[in-house]
C-alpha cells in the first residue's frame, strides 16, 4: 500500500505559493474543503486563480479568501451568493471568467483523464463562445473547450483511507471527484480517515491514485445556505 496520509492541514498545504492556480470542490457551501480553505487564508499568498463552481458566501468558503483579496481570478459558473465578490468584480479588482457548469466539470475531468480539449454545445452562439473554435457535428454546432491546468486541487470527501481512496456522501460529491488528479497535487480532506483495508474496494468512488495527500479535517461546520424545512403536523 502506498501511504498518502499527511499529519494534517499544515503539511497538506505545503508548497502552495502566490500566483498559483487552485481547484476547489463544492457546490455552494456543500462539500467544500473547509479545512484547506481555512489554512490558505492564514498563508501569506496572493494573486491566486481559483477554479470553483461558486465563490462561497461573504464570511465562509472562498469568500474568506476574497475578503483578504488573495484571489486575482475566479473561474466559476455561478457567483450570486456573495456581495463582496460582486463588488470586486464590478469594480474590476477581480478578474472573473464565468463558464457553463457542465463545461467547468468537464474541463476538470478532461485534465484528470488526459484529454487536451473537447467539444460541447454549451454556450454556442453566446459570449462564452467568443474566440473559440467551433465545429459542426451531425448538423449541430459545438465549441472547443480546453482542459484546465492547475497546481493544486483541494477536495473534500466523507470517508477516506491511508491509500487515498475516497467515498463521498450525498450531493457533497459534486465537483470533488472530477477535480481529483486534475491538478499537479490533489489534497483530499475527509471527515473520517480510516486504515487501509477498512473500506470495501467495491464502494470506493475515487481510487487513491488520483490523490497525493489525505488528512482528516479537524472539524466541519457544514454551513447550510438555504435551510428549507417543512413543519411537522
Amino acid at each position: 500500500m502506498i501511504q498518502k496520509t499527511v499529519s494534517g492541514v499544515i503539511e497538506a498545504t505545503e508548497g502552495v505559493k502566490s500566483n498559483m492556480t487552485f481547484m476547489l470542490g463544492g457546490f455552494g457551501l456543500c462539500g467544500i474543503p473547509e479545512n484547506s480553505i481555512a489554512a490558505l487564508v492564514k498563508k501569506n499568498i496572493k494573486g491566486l486563480t481559483c477554479i470553483s463552481n461558486n465563490a462561497g458566501v461573504d464570511d465562509f468558503g472562498l469568500g474568506l479568501l476574497l475578503q483578504q483579496k488573495q484571489i486575482k481570478k475566479m473561474i466559476s459558473s455561478y457567483v450570486g451568493e456573495n456581495d463582496e465578490f460582486e463588488r470586486q468584480m464590478l469594480s474590476g479588482e477581480l478578474d472573473v471568467e464565468l463558464i457553463p457548469q457542465g463545461t467547468l466539470a468537464e474541463r476538470c475531468r478532461a485534465a484528470q483523464g488526459g484529454f487536451p480539449a473537447f467539444y460541447t454545445p454549451a454556450g454556442y452562439g453566446t459570449e462564452v463562445a467568443e474566440g473559440k473554435e467551433t465545429r459542426e457535428f451531425n448538423g449541430k454546432m459545438y465549441i472547443l473547450e480546453q482542459a484546465f491546468k492547475a497546481d493544486f486541487a483541494f477536495v473534500k470527501a466523507w470517508k477516506g483511507d491511508e491509500a487515498g481512496n475516497l467515498i463521498f456522501k450525498g450531493t457533497a460529491r459534486n465537483f470533488n471527484p472530477c477535480m481529483c488528479g486534475a491538478a499537479k497535487i490533489t489534497v483530499a480532506e475527509v471527515e473520517e480517515l480510516v486504515p487501509a483495508g477498512s473500506l470495501d474496494p467495491n464502494h470506493v468512488h475515487i481510487p487513491g491514485i488520483f490523490v497525493q495527500r489525505i488528512f482528516q479535517g479537524e472539524k466541519y461546520e457544514k454551513r447550510i445556505e438555504q435551510r428549507t424545512v417543512l413543519k411537522k403536523e
Binding site: 464565468l98 457542465g102 466539470a105 450525498g170 450531493t171 465537483f175 424545512v229
Partner: protein, 218 residues
Amino acid sequence: MLDKNGIAKRIAKELQDGYFVNLGIGIPTLVANYIPQGIAVEFQSENGVLGMGPFPFDGEEDADVINAGKQTITTMPGASFFDSATSFNMIRGQHVDLTILGAMEVAENGDIANWKIPGKMVKGMGGAMDLVASAENIIVAMMHTNRSGASKLLKKCSLPLTGVQCVKKVITNMAVLEITEKGFKLLEVAPGVTKEDVQKATEGTLLIEGNVPEMILD
C-alpha cells in the same frame, strides 16, 4: 392572470409518465408541488441528484443533501447521487426529457437570455447554458412582462444570450405560447386574460389562429 403557483400548475400539465425532469430555480421549482395524479416522474438537480423529494421536516435536514438552489431537500426511493460531470452527461446526452427554466427575455426565434445584465447583475449561467444547448424539450416559465411592465417576449433579445433557437414553449402568467418559425403562436390564455391583452404585452410577433382556449388548471 396567474400568480407564480398558477404558472407552475399549468406547467405541471406538461409532465408525462416516465419523464426525467430538470427544474430551474424560481417558478420552475414550484412545479414539483403539482405533479398530476397517477404518473411517475423523477426530478434531476444538476448538483448531483436524481429522484429529488420534498423539503425535509424541521430537524431532519442534512447539509450534504441540497438542490441546485442550495436548499435542503430529501430523496425519493430509487434516488441516486453522482458527480457534476456525470450530472451534465445526463443533460448533454439528452437523457433528461424535459427542462423547465426561468428567463429574463425570450425571442420569437427561441433565443433565451437569463444570466447577465451587463454592468448590473452578474450571477453567472450556472447550468443553464448546458441545459438549453442540449435539451430537446425546453419550457420557459416566467412572467409575461418585467417589473416595469415591458414585454419579456421579444423580436430579439437585448441581453447577452444563454442559448440560441432552443426554447420550444413559454408559459407565462398570461398565456401558453409555442415558438414557431413565424413567431410566438398563442395556444392558450390564462383565466380572465383576452387575446388582446396578450397582444399588448407581447413585443415579438404573435400569431393568433382562430379560437384560443382558456387554460385548464385543475
